[in-house]
């Protein structure tokens, strides 16, 4: 009897322990990532509170939070966020549209690729910020030059991603389409588009990341509104809390918009053979 009991225990306990361990891990894993920043913030807060550091140039979390609330109360946060968002949206739309058209054409037709790709690759080698003076001369100092700069930043990852994705579509699947006598339109709609989508979504996300990068560049170089303007304003008036508050706003917006793209694409990518984390 005791033998039976022992086997049951020996059989049961490791799995139960493992499942409990799993649940514990799943709950704590995100928290684990937060541990370091929260500890550092708390430590800095403590140090400033104790008067061991002034915290004038590196404000403690409570001051940054207060600044954030204050900016939100006066409406500065909202209005500047909206301006920046509008710029990113316009630049992203422009960049994605042109990149999608040219990338699709270059991926589909070797002729177009031979014609355009070398020039585009040469342009890509230029750091995009280098265009700013020229864009300002051509398009003025207001919205057009900023939106164009963002669009240029968004263009390249999306163009490269889409062209590469179309070129690497599995020819064997294209042949299935041919064997079933799909028309050109049906071939694009039923084979190429779904095959290209995963890589395209990734390129959109990296394009959006660059869009956020370039909106900061554009706004730092000359703007009277926008989150990037808050950065410059905070620097010129010696308000580090305002700078950090704007940085935090950028982080939240960047993460949120990236998440939106991933969320919108998720229903179409459920088929992907992804390695699940758990």
């Amino acid at each position: 009897m005791s033998v039976v009991g022992m086997t049951i225990v020996a059989d049961g306990s490791p799995t139960r322990e493992r499942s409990i361990g799993n649940r514990w891990l799943r709950l704590t894993r995100p928290v684990l990532g937060l541990l370091l920043p929260v500890l550092l913030a708390a430590a800095w807060e403590f140090i400033v509170r104790m008067g061991w550091a002034s915290g004038r140039l590196a404000p403690p979390p409570s001051v940054i939070f207060a600044e954030f609330v204050e900016l939100a109360r006066t409406g500065d946060l909202q209005s500047n966020t909206l301006v920046t968002l509008a710029r990113v949206a316009a630049g992203f739309a422009l960049g994605v549209t042109t990149a999608t058209i040219i990338g699709a054409a270059a991926g589909y037709s070797p002729m177009v690729r031979r014609l355009l790709d070398p020039s585009l690759q040469a342009l890509r080698a230029i750091p995009s910020i280098a265009w700013v003076p020229l864009f300002v001369l051509w398009l003025g100092i207001f919205e057009a030059s900023k939106v164009t700069l963002i669009a240029v930043g968004v263009f390249f990852p999306v163009y490269l991603g889409l062209m590469g994705a179309i070129q690497s579509v599995d020819r064997k699947l294209v042949e299935v389409g041919r064997a079933f006598r799909l028309s050109d339109v049906a071939m694009v709609w039923r084979i190429l588009l779904p095959a290209v989508l995963p890589a395209y979504v990734i390129s959109l996300r990296s394009g959006l990341g660059l869009g956020w990068m370039f909106v900061v560049a554009a706004e730092i170089m000359g703007a009277s509104q926008g989150l990037g303007y808050l950065l410059v304003d905070g620097q010129q008036l010696g308000k580090p809390a305002e700078i950090v508050a704007a940085i935090v706003a950028f982080a939240i917006l960047g993460k949120a918009t990236d998440w939106l793209i991933a969320l919108a694409a998720a229903p179409f990518l459920r088929w992907e053979d992804v390695v699940r984390q758990d």
């Binding site: 064997k172 299935v176 064997a179 079933f180 088929w271």
Partner: protein
């Protein structure tokens, strides 16, 4: 009737893959094409399918010349080639895009039940085993009710057990509508289990070297003496097709060709 009239294929790089293959296949007949690698058997199948039309000669089906994929011709490849972004049921119905939805759904359900995968309709292809995926591919090819079904080494990527299982299953499916089957294979057993006629091809350029009738009743016993007899005939023809004299010991033909097929 499917007839090939002196079908030749010369690739743009100058490789002479097929050198005038002529063949007539009756409706409902099962023909296996066998030969060493590089003998043009896959090229021949692709020429019949219209995916890679012949450079000279003609493929004619019921009086119509085939130069592009045709609705009466279905093809099954070595890999299942299911579209990973479509559920199994949508993969099976892929060739029925122009039919009304209820008819499509009904035919897909029937086909999936017929290949024994009714419970996998709403599953992604990645969740299938190799044998299941190939069965879905067979269902997809059969659903439009082709008159001719071409099979390009359809079971060669599967393990031996699944392979013989699917060979029997294919024969079972074939009895439903009795389409013409043209099967390319390098597996002698597979050719003899399935085919009414085995065409042995030889390389450079690909030609039909010999033709062996298999007049055994179905289902065929892979272990029977008659099966073995036909198998030896095919193996001897294969040896000869590769210019390799069959060695005889005590008046018996030694079956050495099996290995040669893999070269």
């Amino acid at each position: 009737m499917l007839s090939l009239e002196r079908v030749s294929k010369i690739y743009p790089n100058g490789v002479h893959a097929l050198g005038g293959v002529s063949l007539e296949v009756e409706l409902g007949e099962i023909v296996a094409v066998i030969g060493g690698s590089g003998c043009g058997k896959s090229t021949l199948l692709r020429a019949i399918s219209g995916l890679d039309p012949a450079s000279e000669g003609a493929v004619v089906l019921d009086g119509e010349r085939i130069t592009a994929p045709h609705e009466k011709i279905g093809i099954i490849f070595q890999e299942p080639r299911l579209l990973p972004w479509l559920k199994v049921a949508d993969n099976v119905g892929f060739g029925l895009g122009d039919r009304p939805k209820p008819e499509r759904a009904q035919r897909v359900t029937a086909a999936l039940a017929r290949v024994g995968l009714a419970d996998k309709a709403a599953v992604w292809p990645r969740e299938l085993s190799g044998g299941q995926a190939q069965r879905v591919a067979i269902a997809r090819a059969l659903v439009p009710r082709p008159e001719v079904l071409l099979l390009d080494e359809p079971f060669s990527a599967l393990d031996a057990f699944t392979r013989s299982d699917l060979q029997d299953h294919l024969l079972d499916l074939w009895t439903d509508a009795k389409p013409t089957l043209v099967l390319v294979t390098h597996d002698v057993d597979e050719a003899i289990v399935l085919a009414d006629r085995v065409m042995v091809m030889c390389p450079r350029p690909g030609r039909i070297f010999d033709e062996i009738d298999v007049k055994l009743p179905r289902p065929r016993d892979r272990q029977s003496a008659a099966f073995d007899f036909v198998k030896r005939r095919v193996l001897v023809a294969l040896d000869r097709s590769l210019n390799r004299p069959a060695t005889t010991v005590d008046g018996e033909t030694k079956a050495t060709a099996g290995a040669a097929l893999w070269w």
